[in-house]
Symmetry: C2
Subunit: 126 residues, 2 copies
């Protein structure tokens, strides 16, 4: 599962699942409808697709299905990021980091966090 093969809406569904753990299709529909309109049957069809590709699974509870993620969020982030790095930044993660720091807003708090991380990296290299 290379994860990048998730579409935009499928990713929205996964995010609801990652956040809530076990979730019904109806709950997912409601969640997404807070952001943008979507028909319940659409969500169900997409869940089917996600299940086929092994990203989620379900159990029956009474007559309704409770869905849960099989793919971990961390793994997904990893492969989505690697895909971008490979395709757009010539495989150099550092190049993406530079791009982000130069062109995107990063809060002072996040900067501190980042400073700590690179200090750790430097130590490791010794």
């Amino acid at each position: 599962m290379t994860a990048t093969q998730l579409g935009r809406v499928q990713l929205l569904i996964m995010q609801v699942l990652w956040e809530n753990g076990r979730t019904t299709a109806r709950q997912i529909t409601d969640s997404i409808n807070e952001i943008e309109p979507i028909a319940h049957s659409t969500v169900q069809t997409l869940l089917r697709g996600l299940e086929e590709k092994g990203a989620v699974d379900h159990e029956a509870e009474g007559r309704t299905f409770v869905f849960f993620p099989l793919v971990e969020e961390a793994n997904f982030k990893q492969s989505a990021t690697r895909d971008l790095v490979k395709r757009v930044f010539g495989g150099k993660a550092g190049s993406l980091v530079s791009h982000l720091l130069k062109n995107e807003k990063v809060s002072a708090k996040e900067i501190d966090e980042i400073r700590k991380l690179i200090d750790q990296q430097s130590k490791k290299k010794k």
Copy 2:
């Protein structure tokens, strides 16, 4: 042009164009064939698509077309990155930076570069 709507192979084509400037379809095909097999007619069809969406344009030189990019690489990187940040990292660029530093290989040289960048950022905040 939100750029993320470029497919994988279309992006390969754009990269050849960004690197070489004015380029014929044949040169692009040859370039891509160094990486993976692709038919010339496929490249031509994709160029057509790119032209329709305003990413490239061409001029006739004799009987052959010379293509050139209309979209700038920097802009593309920007929107591809923003898309990832938005879709996968909850809109927080810093969160992606952290992820990269924690999980991806970044060379010592790149780390130095990054350190300089965050020093600049810190100064700006004062």
